[in-house]
């Protein structure tokens, strides 16, 4: 690898504050040319703010930016692109109804004729092996392909520095592999890359250097290749991580949740329909449902929790009772609790107190309502119990839900459902956007609940989490669920292919069984 020691970008003492938070506190770091530099940190550590400053979306309150040794002021993204800085966002800004080429043309700073643009786009695609048909309409493309449009768009300006913000959160393992090939090729050509992620395996596989942020400050720098995932995680959260205890020998009791040929029509224009989903979860078992975002996970979650009521009563059976037509409250009475993915406004009401948020789901199982009136004392006692048992950092039971940090609110929500002693728990993305400390506490709570005999469905996009917690695993793709298999019987390649929508065709060479330390991209 050709690596010159020229500094491409240097930040000196960058600070940026928002109401109530100091997002960046005196941050200094430098990116060499041709280097893949990771920005590592938990949610809220200040990574996104920092790259938004580099890309000119935000202006720092204090501090200086040097580009190839010269001090610069990056007033806006156009100025950033003029310098040779490109960025691929976590959330794409594409027009669904337009073609790939039209979308790329819309993002250009200068008008060029379609013919020249198409030629350029073709050149870039060929050079980096980014397979895309420029004539395709965006709405027909998968997430991986959409990301490629964004990458092509960023590469069109011949960037000297490319910023990638959490690029793999929506990709299958195979797509991640392809992306890494492109990034390595770019780096070899001398382009610097700032790579934001909290997936430590990926950073180990890809990056040359990592700057670790915590609470808006730089807390360390390391060579990811020489660190273990655990040591980097500890730098990230500042304390040592508890390892999750999982009993090896597990015996499952009778069936807790049975889903029979569950189908659901698309809800609204952007919904996903569910097609003939069947699975069973026994008491004590954790069934994981993997998949790329937007393949029907939310619909499945809502159908199981009772937020969407089915016409077919027999499609969902709880402990032998058909509940397809029952609503969420009735299902809760029968022992099914649920935690949806979105915390604010779905699992919790942001401007309501924690007490009121307890009433939201626990009122029946905790007898908080009598003759239509709410027993506030009971709600308070239960809320205090959640706060104490789940270490929720808050000013008290009367604090509003939106005054809690994401991780603390998630601990509260998980505590609220788990302390209702559910017989069956359906939970989506329980540790999404949660700091590592809270995340491991939540995972442990899920495992402990299963040990007590609850049947658990865990819907997650985090493969590591699923492999760590689950006994069996199924993959959802375009509303279809693969046949659940025992976790040890599935290879990463197989899961990846299922996530990409290839059912049944398991390639022969995929013999490597899952290891928790996945060598996802060491090739």
């Amino acid at each position: 690898m050709q690596k010159s020691q020229n500094i491409m970008l240097e930040l000196k003492n960058i600070s940026k504050s928002f109401p109530a938070v100091l997002a960046n506190d005196n941050i200094s770091f430098a990116v060499k040319s041709g280097e893949i530099h990771a920005l590592l940190g938990e949610n809220g550590a200040g990574k996104s703010t920092l790259v938004k400053i580099i890309y000119g979306i935000m202006q720092p309150d204090k501090g200086e930016i040097f580009w190839q040794g010269k001090k610069v002021h990056i007033a806006n993204p156009r100025a950033a692109r003029a310098l040779g800085i490109g960025m691929v966002f976590q959330h794409f800004s594409l027009f669904e109804a337009m073609s790939v080429l039209e979308n790329i043309a819309l993002g250009m700073d200068k008008k060029i004729s379609n013919r020249i643009l198409e030629k350029k786009v073709q050149q870039i695609m060929q050079k980096y092996g980014l397979l895309l048909n420029p004539k395709r309409i965006v709405s027909t493309l998968g997430v991986g392909e959409r990301q490629r449009i964004e990458i092509v768009r960023a590469l069109l300006v011949n960037p000297k520095l490319l910023i990638m913000d959490e690029p793999t959160s929506v990709l299958t393992p195979q797509e991640v592999e392809q992306l890494f090939l492109v990034l390595r090729q770019l780096a070899n050509e001398g382009c610097s890359i700032i790579y934001i992620s909290h997936k430590l395996q990926e950073i180990k596989a890809l990056c040359d250097r990592a700057t670790i942020l915590r609470g808006g400050k730089v807390v360390g720098e390391c060579n990811p290749k020489k660190e273990t995932s655990k040591s980097m995680a500890q730098m990230m959260i500042g304390t040592s991580l508890k390892t999750i205890k999982k009993s090896k020998k597990k015996k499952f009791a009778d069936i807790g949740l049975k889903v029979n040929n569950l189908s659901l029509k698309k809800q609204g224009d952007f919904g996903v329909s569910l097609k003939n989903i069947s699975f069973t979860v026994r008491h004590g078992e954790i069934l994981g449902i993997a998949g790329v975002a937007g393949n029907g996970q939310n619909e499945l979650q809502n159908v199981l929790s009772g937020e969407i009521v089915l016409k077919d009563n027999e499609a969902i059976i709880l402990n032998g009772v058909a509940v397809g037509k029952k609503n969420a409250t009735e299902r809760r009475k029968l022992g099914l609790c649920a935690v949806p993915e979105e915390r604010y406004g779905h699992a919790a009401i942001p401007d309501f107190s924690l007490n009121d948020n307890s009433i939201l789901t626990a009122r029946e199982r905790k007898n908080m309502v009598r003759a239509g009136m709410i027993n506030i004392k009971k709600a308070q006692d239960f809320t205090k119990k959640i706060i104490a048992n789940f270490n929720v950092m808050t000013t008290g039971h009367a604090a509003s839900a939106n005054s809690l940090s994401g991780g603390n609110l998630q601990k509260f929500i998980m505590g609220r459902e788990i302390l209702q002693a559910p017989d069956i728990l359906v939970v989506s993305q329980p540790t999404w956007g949660v700091d590592a400390g809270a995340g491991s506490a939540i995972r442990q709570a899920i495992i402990d609940l299963a040990l007590k005999g609850a049947a658990i469905v865990l819907i997650s996009q985090d493969l590591d989490e699923l492999l760590e917690l689950c006994d069996s695993l199924a993959v959802i793709n375009e509303g279809k669920l693969s046949k659940p298999k025992k976790v040890g019987d599935m290879s990463i390649e197989e899961i990846g292919l299922l996530m990409g929508g290839i059912h049944g065709a398991v390639p022969k060479e995929s013999s490597s069984k899952i290891k928790v330390e996945t060598d996802a991209a060491s090739a």
Binding site: N76, H346, R363
Partner: protein
Amino acid sequence: MQLQLEKRLHPSRLMLFIVPIGAVIMTMVLGAIIFTILGFNGLSAVREIFLTPIINPLKWQDLAVKAAPLIIIGVGLSIGYRANVWNIGAEGQYIVGGLAATAIALITYEMSGWWILPLMAIGGIFGGMVWVFIPALLRTKLKVNEILTSLMLTYVAVNLLNYLVFGPWKSPFAFGQPQTILFNEWQTLPYIIEGTIVQAGAPIAIIIALLAWLLMSRSLFGFQIKTVGSAPNAARYGGFSENKTIWLTLLISGGLAGLAGMLEVAGPFGRMVPQFPTGYGFTAIIVAFLGRLHPIGVLFAGIILAISFVGGEVAQTTIALPNAAVGLFQALMLFLLLAGDVLVHYKIKPIRINRVDKGQMGAKKQEEII
């Protein structure tokens, strides 16, 4: 320079209480200025409208009479508004409630008995509910916006009223006047304080506000309404049906508007006349917001708006202020209140405009700041 509204993390609770009071005071100040510019004595206009009804004990009974329907309708509307269900057509439900009560009065004209008034009250509630049934059905079945349907039905109600009093219900003794016969003593509300014009409407309004307070603060139904209004997804997750909430809140607000209609026709009017729609149903919208959609707040807000009505009449006779002045004051108050609310929840921040290409930035600006 460009201004941008930035959401406050913790809106001040104190401010939430101060804003309605501030809005009333600002209304007086701006009103005084406007009427001075228009050539009236602005200060005395404000004094007659806002102070005379409070200072002069003779006017208190007028306040009670005017405040009662505003409070009853306002409480109903505020319950719906908490659930984000926007019944704007309380005026229509008020009219139909009054018509239903009148129908019962006409049927029972030859009869006597204590049961007639309660029957008229039930009829009034039922009439209001029937009128709100249509928007509720359209909203829950076809997702038709209830703001439009409920508002437009108000004008249907006005025409229905006119048809009835000019036609089939016209009194044979009225010398061609479009009005019904005068209700008999069993069909008219009793006076509750000797020697005044205060009828049963005032205590009923207070009882309704107190009951609504209990309902909203302590009952599961109140919790459901607040949840549906604040976070519809969370409400579904909590097992609350949005459609059921829409139905119930609309029926409550329609029923209460209908009851107010009955109390008016069996009270101050004593018969049905074309002048029956006095705009209480619309003014009650201001009452609901001025009262912060809280039943007790609505109670006080109803009195404040009643002051402006009574004061308007005073100002008409004493300083010849046009009757439209009252409407102007009320509208001013609502505007100031809503503007104040925005400032409680948001702060104004100047931003520098960077020349950015709009196409790229449009989508990205929507991302959260952090």
